[in-house]
């Protein structure tokens, strides 16, 4: 597999989608703290470095879908996947070599964000607050593990679909569906159980009267709530939503789920790829 890794990393260095991904994340890393700094100056209140710092979880998800579909899709598009198999490499080795290179590429994109964000943010906004620092560190680590899950899913899709355009469509749409689903579940879980009590004055007495709180029809309760809460920690899109707002509580559980997803998807991907008819 070392030969395949050497070949794939060599190609990665020249890959245009990888270069654009690095530049994009680097630019986002500058824009986020800079826009916070501008807002801070304009409205006169303090914004700390941790605010918006983990937004890259969202961009990481999208970039992993774009990168995997283009990088691996090229192998099918140009027919070069055949060269690897004809040269006598096992399908498992071919699959793992692409997975490892894709994960490395996404990690490097995340690092590009972290470096530019810290280099821009620390001088403008100062360092993280003492209370936030361990939370941010935990979130950064979980985002890297989530990147493994997202990349595993996109690698599986790209390895099993031999049409580059179809792969790109499936991966990008799939990630957006994950993210929208994540946003939806989050919104439902944040619904209050009761609508807030409100006060009003009557014209006749001019005295304040209150209406009792009413049950919120959008509130999710019972088993359904338990399922939603599980999905909120389990699904990669939901994890990304929690992580990018620094609001994740169950970092260990989410990391475990990410590793589980990556392992199951990769195992299934290799099983199917092994039986795939390559054209």
């Amino acid at each position: 597999m070392n030969k395949l890794l050497s070949a794939n990393f060599s190609r990665l260095k020249k890959d245009i989608s990888f270069r654009i991904g690095i530049l994009y994340m680097f630019a986002i890393g500058i824009i986020v703290p800079l826009s916070n700094f501008i807002t801070m100056k304009k409205y006169g209140y303090t914004i700390s470095l941790e605010s918006g710092f983990c937004l890259y979880a969202f961009f990481m998800a999208i970039l992993s879908s774009v990168f995997c579909s283009l990088f691996i899709g090229t192998e099918y598009n140009d027919g070069t996947m055949r060269n690897k198999l004809i040269a006598g490499h096992s399908r498992t080795a071919v699959y793992f070599s692409f997975l490892i290179v894709s994960i490395a590429a996404i990690f490097l994109m995340c690092l590009a964000y972290l470096i530019s964000s810290l280099c821009t943010g620390i001088p403008l906004l100062g360092f993280f607050s003492d209370a936030a620092f361990p939370i941010v560190l935990g979130h950064i680590g979980t985002i890297f593990i989530l990147a493994v899950a997202f990349t595993s899913i996109c690698t599986a899709a790209a390895m099993l679909c031999q049409n580059k355009a179809a792969t790109a469509t499936v991966c990008i749409l799939g990630v957006f569906i994950f993210l929208f689903f994540g946003a939806y579940i989050r919104a439902r879980l944040e619904e209050p159980e009761y609508d807030q009590a409100y006060y009003f004055e009557t014209e006749e007495t001019s005295e304040a009267e209150s209406a009792p709180p009413t049950p919120n029809p959008w509130y999710v309760s019972g088993t359904k709530r338990q399922v939603y809460e599980f999905l909120h920690d389990f699904l990669p899109g939901n994890q990304a939503m929690q992580l990018c707002t620094l609001s994740a509580d169950n970092l260990w559980k989410m990391s475990f789920y990410s590793i589980l997803i990556a392992a199951v998807v990769t195992g299934t991907g290799i099983y199917v790829f092994y039986r795939e008819n390559i054209n």
Binding site: K3, S10, R11, G79, R82, A87, H89, N277, N279
Partner: protein, 304 residues
């Protein structure tokens, strides 16, 4: 005879469609094996199976005596190179970069042989030109150059002349002949351009509807397709005696039928036969080209 590739009753099905049906074939070492068949006859499917891109539904094949079911087949595959359908090249890379990438895939320790391969394929002057800007012929030659990395001794080329202009076809032909003669590389070339194949092949395999109709050496095919006079005579012994006396090259087919390959006028042939009491019942001239031979095979005529 040493065989590089032996295929034993191989079948391949895609859902309800059976692409190959109990196909068997034998590619001798050092041969240029012309794999002839019409579009959709199963040529590319068989090549994909041999290259390990797909697995047979039933049957087996052996490369250098190693069965496809053995684990060591992956090691044996390192001895083959292939261009399947379209050349497998990175379009955004130059010819040299493509070869370097293939060297890395093969795990070759240095890039030393790249210049030689580029020269051999006639791509040594392409410089920084990306493969996407290459002509079809150049891409095909780059595909062959990539297949040549690692010094394989068996090259599989699927329709190498497809879409090429006459000059491109000549270039590919010369390259194949050069590699076969100078490096003793065995070739399996699938094609339906019979005229082109007849200039290269030392052996033929004719495939139709997923199975091999006939395997024949080029020498045997030449013999079969030779221009001759076909005679039906009343006394085959008298015919043989007369033919020997005249020094004719002939071949007796049955008690009443014979073929004469030497040039002779009918008058000069019939008079001596008549003197020996042998009547000529019928006579006709026959000449078969590779194309007509192929058409008669596919049409169902037996040549066993």
């Amino acid at each position: 005879m040493d065989y590089v590739l032996t295929v034993n009753a191989i079948s391949k099905s895609y859902k309800r469609f059976q692409a190959l049906k109990n196909l068997s074939m034998h590619v001798p070492k050092g041969a240029v094996y012309g794999f002839v068949g019409k579009n959709g006859s199963g040529k590319t499917t068989l090549i994909r199976l041999i290259c390990g891109l797909q697995t047979p539904t039933s049957g087996s094949y052996a490369l250098y005596g190693t069965e496809n079911t053995e684990e060591s087949i992956q090691t044996v595959r390192k001895r083959i190179g292939a261009v399947v359908e379209t050349p497998s090249i990175y379009l955004h890379m130059t010819a040299e970069e493509n070869l370097k990438e293939q060297y890395r895939i093969l795990g070759l320790p240095s890039f030393d042989g790249i210049g030689e391969i580029l020269k051999l394929a006639g791509l040594d002057n392409t410089g920084k030109k990306k493969a996407k800007h290459f002509s079809l012929g150049m891409r095909q030659r780059l595909g062959i150059a990539i297949a040549l990395c690692g010094n394989p001794d068996f090259l599989i080329l699927d329709e190498p002349a497809n879409g090429l202009d006459p000059q491109g076809i000549v270039e590919i032909r010369e390259l194949i002949l050069k590699l076969n003669k100078e490096r003793q590389i065995t070739f399996l070339i699938s094609s339906h351009i019979l005229d082109e194949l007849s200039r290269l092949a030392t052996h033929y395999g004719f495939i139709d509807n997923g199975h091999i109709v006939k395997e024949i050496s080029a020498a045997d095919l030449d013999r079969t397709c030779r221009k001759c006079l076909c005679l039906e005579v009343s006394d085959i012994r008298a015919f043989a005696l007369a033919a020997d006396q005249m020094g004719l090259e002939y071949h007796i087919l049955s008690d009443t039928q014979a073929e004469i390959f030497s040039k002779i006028t009918i008058t000069k042939l019939i008079l001596p036969l008549s003197e020996k009491g042998c009547e000529v019942l019928s006579i006709h001239e026959r000449e078969e080209s590779l194309e007509s031979y192929y058409m008669s095979l596919i049409g169902g005529k037996t040549h066993e």
